[in-house]
Amino acid sequence: MESFLAALLNGLEIGLLLFVIAVGLNIIFGVLGVINFAHGGLYMLGAYLTYTLVSRGGLPFWPALLLAPLAVAILAIVLERLVLRHVYGRHVTDSLLLTFALLLIIDDAVRMIWGSGIQVVTPPPGLRGATSALGFSYPVYSFFVMGVAIAVMAALWLFFTRTRAGRVIRAAAIDRDMAQTIGINVPLVITGVFALGAWMAALAGVVAAPMRAINPGMGDRIIIDSFIVVVIGGLGSFPGTLAGALVLGMIYAFGGRFLPELNLVLPYIGMALVLLLRPQGLMGRRTG
């Protein structure tokens, strides 16, 4: 029972953090029509900047939580304006190749700057160690991760349903040309959406830094997981992204605990099953 509960919590934690990353990927696809491979690189930059600010720079964790995502969002604005902007409206393979190239460049830049070893960030004081509040021992920091992810989810939901800016982004995702025709500055919306997605990826990177091994392969790993989430949940679906992220989180958590020898292939089996049985994803809309 205890190990079941612990796996459940672990699945929630992995799933919620994946949601924060994959939902940004999904929003960017919805508005830009671009499948952003570089998203994993932006997540990784969030983690490495945290390492530099906290482990090297001696800064407390909290300012890093603000500064690193902000810096990555600014980088994203530059990337969107200078590079990505040129492939909108072209075939999706063009943007795939371009963002894949960006991911490779980010990967190599990370190796050049930080080396290829594993870096470590310790959790902030107060979030270290374990708690037995649920009757068994579980890391305090994990509850913090879940709290941040739930806060991001709630904030996003409020933003998209209750604010004009959120509704404008939804309109631009539904029909870009018509949005432009009613006076919406769509190029500006696109830059904003890309920056928002990058900010979320980097925020997830900061939050992940104290509990995951920071290494140059972490971006590639997370982008593949995010793609699996989006395939399971459905492209363009918000609740679907949450469902997909939780399903994958549970696969990792329960697979790791009860079927460790299959743990690496289980996510792909899950994705293949969804593709075979429900190609539009659990909550995606059927297209074409």
Binding site: R164, A171, I174, D177, Q180, T181, I182, G183, I184
Partner: protein
């Protein structure tokens, strides 16, 4: 108010507009007639900035606007209701209006949401419904309302009657007459009867060129022109 001077618009290599010129004076209701593919929609899209003419000038209230992006033109007083209405499915009726509303102090608005809902009581009833679930006539009303809340001085309507029941066509005609008291209107149509009732002047387009201009009555009384350039209604 609007002067279009010899514009040439292309879709890729296809030469859709081959030197269209027309003029709309403030307070007028002008109709652009022609068969399918004559270039009516492309003319409106060129004015709106959705496609940019390669040559020619478009002057609105004394300012050249060709080559400007559509959102700039929308914010400077022109609105387009496209032929296929393009309601944001997935947004409610009210949200469709919210996203289009011009950003200015409420006191400077001619089309507050209250006034829109007075003018279109049906939309008030449907305000929380998904725009994608509306009937064709309801979508057309919402598309016009959405254009109005951008506060246009010139309203472009692309085939406002297309595919609608006669009773809705009547409503739209009456609406155009009411709007015409405060807004300049340029609309397109394939046949004469509706234009005759609601427009004061007309142009006929064929194959991307203006082939005729004058009063709608002259067009009505000239069966040869009708037969050659227009659809029989």
């Amino acid at each position: 108010m609007l002067v279009v001077e010899d514009i040439h618009t292309y879709y890729g290599e296809s030469h859709a507009l081959q030197g269209v010129s027309l003029e709309v004076k403030a307070g007028e209701v002008v109709c652009l007639l022609g068969r399918n593919g004559a270039g009516k929609s492309t003319t409106l899209k060129s004015i709106m900035g959705i496609v940019s003419p390669r040559r020619g000038r478009i002057v609105f209230e004394g300012e050249e606007i060709q080559g400007r992006p559509a959102h700039w033109i929308a914010r400077h007083g022109i609105a387009l209701v496209p032929e296929d209405r393009r309601i944001f499915a997935g947004l409610t009726v009210q949200e469709n209006l919210d996203v289009a509303q011009a950003r200015r102090p409420p006191g400077e608005r001619r089309w507050s949401l209250e006034r829109v809902f007075d003018e279109f009581p049906m939309l008030a009833e449907l305000r929380d419904q998904d725009g994608g679930t509306l009937s064709g006539g309801q979508q057309q009303m919402l598309a016009i309302a959405r254009a109005l809340v951008t506060e246009p001085r010139l309203l472009l309507l692309d085939e406002p009657n297309e595919g609608l029941a006669p009773v809705i066509v009547q409503q739209i005609g009456a609406l155009i007459d009411r709007l015409a008291e405060t807004t300049t209107i340029l609309f397109t149509d394939q046949s004469v009867p509706f234009a005759l009732k609601h427009a004061s002047r007309g142009y006929i387009l064929q194959k991307g060129r203006v082939v005729y201009q004058g009063s709608i009555e002259t067009i009505r009384n000239d069966p040869e022109v009708q037969e050659r350039y227009l659809s029989v209604a």
